[in-house]
Amino acid sequence: MDAILQQFFNWGVMAQALPLLLKGLGMTLLICAVVIPLGALGGLLAALASTAQARALRWSAIAFVDLFRALPPLVLLIFIYAGLPFAGLRLSPFAAVTIAFFLNNSAYFAEIFRAGLLSVPKGQAEAALSTGLTPAQTLIWVRLPQATRNVLPDLLSNVVEIVKLTSLASVVSLGEMLHAADLVRSVTYNASPLILAAGLYLLLLWPLVRLIGRFERRIAG
């Protein structure tokens, strides 16, 4: 029992690891701050394209979404970071992570936004157009607010997935939280930093998960 506590819940090691982990958390949050807005925007554009009249536009959007939903994000990340240099394109870990997660997240956001846009009755856009709003104004003021509200739990779930996804950045040695924790583990030969990292992820995401549950109940009820 003592050995388990020593190996997994060693407060001394945790205290030592904490500054580095917090720095890693900072990087995790930075990745999120870049990837979430970009992915949401890319996803929205892909969703609009996939519901467009023009067939070529629609099909390219669907191909984009299918491809990046089917491709494992880790494969995509390693390809961009370690594969592209063979084509002469060498990216920093941060750039590789941003591009890989942007492509992956855009595809998921696209599906959510598409479902949201389709959930808004056609009469809403017709009413807006009949009062002289342009199609773009109709999208911004009438369709999107309703679409977003209808899929809010899914959007937030996707945000949670993205935060968890950032831990993959450790494989390209980007100093986010998991990378920091694993570094300390390898130096101290102790698993406590990993437990600490898990605890910090939980602290970060648990409120968000609770919030999603509340939204889901409100929409169902």
Binding site: E126, A127, L133, Q137, V142, Q146
Partner: protein, 250 residues
């Protein structure tokens, strides 16, 4: 030659055809509505009456034909459709109020975003429009907190606030519980009394008899018969009109 406003129809439809795929829905509609006239359109379902109405603000794109608002062309390329649509108010069967906005927000949206009025100015105009439909006290309510009749009156206020030249009503009372129909018809009566030009697709025969200046009967994508309400509803000359009215009264 420019025509005087007195003789230029407020709404004019010429040789309007519409097909969905290979299925013709409108087969040559000619219609002219004078200023302040209320024209009622009757017809069995599938007769094309709603499609005809929806062509009048190009929510449906006509296959061929021309439509004019006060002599200005609505159809064809190069038309500023968003500007023209503000001259054509539309009221829908299912109200189509924006559920995420209050009654006030529903009425002010186009005033602010299209007509670029300040919030204060837009709200003053909206308050006046909501007052006209008897809902001043519901301005801060969301559509979900209003009855069907109240929602439809807000929708009328939303169209009215833009000061359109003509208003189109697409079965405005068909989705309402019977006891709520009266309030909406009363508002429509007021709108007419204020001089609005109105084209109304509806099955409210009693209201047509009492308030309409002219009744049109459509069937198979054509206007079969038209005239004063007493004539079309009381003494129709066409078999198809008679058959329709018989079914309706049965």
């Amino acid at each position: 030659m420019a025509r005087s406003p007195e003789t230029t129809p407020t709404l004019e439809v010429r040789a309007l055809h519409k097909a969905f795929g290979s299925e013709p829905v409108l087969r040559g509609i000619d219609l002219s509505v004078a200023r302040s006239e209320m024209v009622f359109v009757l017809g069995p379902s599938g007769s094309g009456k709603s499609t005809m109405l929806r062509c009048c603000n190009r929510l449906e794109e006509p296959t061929s034909g021309e439509i004019f608002i006060e002599g200005d062309r609505l159809t064809g390329p190069g038309v500023n459709l968003n500007a023209m649509r503000q001259r054509v108010g539309m009221v829908f069967q299912s109200f189509n109020l924006y559920p995420h906005l209050t009654a006030m927000g529903n009425v002010t949206l186009a005033l602010r975003r299209v007509q670029k009025k300040s919030r204060a100015e837009a709200e003053a105009i909206a308050a006046e429009a909501l007052d006209k439909v008897g809902l001043s006290d519901r301005a801060r309510h969301h559509p979900g907190q209003l009855s069907g009749g109240q929602q439809q009156r807000v929708a009328i206020a939303r169209a009215l606030a833009l000061k359109p030249t003509v208003m189109l009503f697409d079965e405005p009372t068909s989705a309402l519980d019977p006891e709520l129909v009266g309030d909406v018809l009363a508002v429509m009566r007021d709108v007419k009394a204020a001089g609005m030009t109105m084209l109304v697709v509806s099955h409210e025969m009693g209201f047509a008899r009492e308030a309409a200046d002219r009744v049109i009967f459509m069937d198979g994508g054509r206007i079969v018969e038209q005239g004063p309400p007493d004539q079309v509803l009381g003494a129709p000359t066409h078999d198809r009109t008679r058959a329709f009215l018989r079914r309706f009264h049965a």
